[in-house]
Symmetry: C2
Subunit: 209 residues, 2 copies
Amino acid sequence: MDKIMRYPDRARTERAQLDAVLDAAPMGTLATVVDGLPWAVPMLYARDGDRILLHGSTGAGALRQVAAGAPAALCVAMLDGIVVADTLFDSSANYRSAVVRGNLVTLGEDESADALNALSDVLIPGRSTEVRGHRRKELAATLALALPITPGQWTVKVRDAPPGEPAETSSAWAGVVPVRSVAGAPVPAPWVASGTPVPASVSRLTRTA
Amino acid sequence: MDKIMRYPDRARTERAQLDAVLDAAPMGTLATVVDGLPWAVPMLYARDGDRILLHGSTGAGALRQVAAGAPAALCVAMLDGIVVADTLFDSSANYRSAVVRGNLVTLGEDESADALNALSDVLIPGRSTEVRGHRRKELAATLALALPITPGQWTVKVRDAPPGEPAETSSAWAGVVPVRSVAGAPVPAPWVASGTPVPASVSRLTRTA
């Protein structure tokens, strides 16, 4: 993680590699500039073709400022492993990361419903078909945004390897401790009647995670 | 995640709550402003009392710019669960997040060794005592930075709850799919002789994750 600038081979340049990283994480950090200062907030997102969908409340002040076309950067990163070398200097991390830069676009109310469905279906595939449609007041209370994916405006870095081989002979153990994110068994809300079937989308989520 | 500004009860104001969030994640996103534009990069970090330690290569151009005292924001976020309501509008996420704002300080070579040990020991507790000390050329190649934790310059938000109870009577399932990060069994590097004992720090990591 720390030394990405010194290891240009960690950079990935194919668009498919960007998509693979973006599609693997549900959450990123949206960074922008507010009054000349850095501003950052974690956000759920979904890639939809050549754009990244985001959403927030129309009541969120800073987000409105971003939505007004200010330049933004979405940073997505997943820690995949702790890379243990025989020295701290050569220890590292396996990770996948992407940064997408661009100007956010506010979606109109007509586009918002589809964008919100897409956001939900990335987090819980198929969920949007199990629930009622969006109500007008819900759409009015939601700010749906898109960050376009533009050539030259993104970077991807991946490290997926054992530690580098030590320059000096060493009999010490070295290797990788893999790290991954797993979904647990669904926990029903307190008011849900016992025996209420878990929606198919939720069952799939737990099975495939 | 999306509606944090509308739910002020998600904000946490105790310093201990900030520390708990910071200490639970190994990786954050460092955001700053470069030439008036947002700049963001994922970084491993460690809290050390009232400061956050970061490191990078002295060869990393953008990081040097940050190190030169530019204002920065470190955003840390963990997704803890997918909150499934009976409507998409009321669906949400359980998460812990923190943003710490401040000006980065470059650490001198004498402070760097301790900072790098602390960074390593947060990721792999006890590891720094199992390996040889840092060499001068290693310290010279490493940029160790500290972001001070200053009152009024941080925010913490936590959502850890079932979905809100539906306003309308519903017989539908609702609840939370918990998400967590787990460490797998250590994978030795290809050149490591079979039977080489796994270091105690690495064994503990896998057991306790």
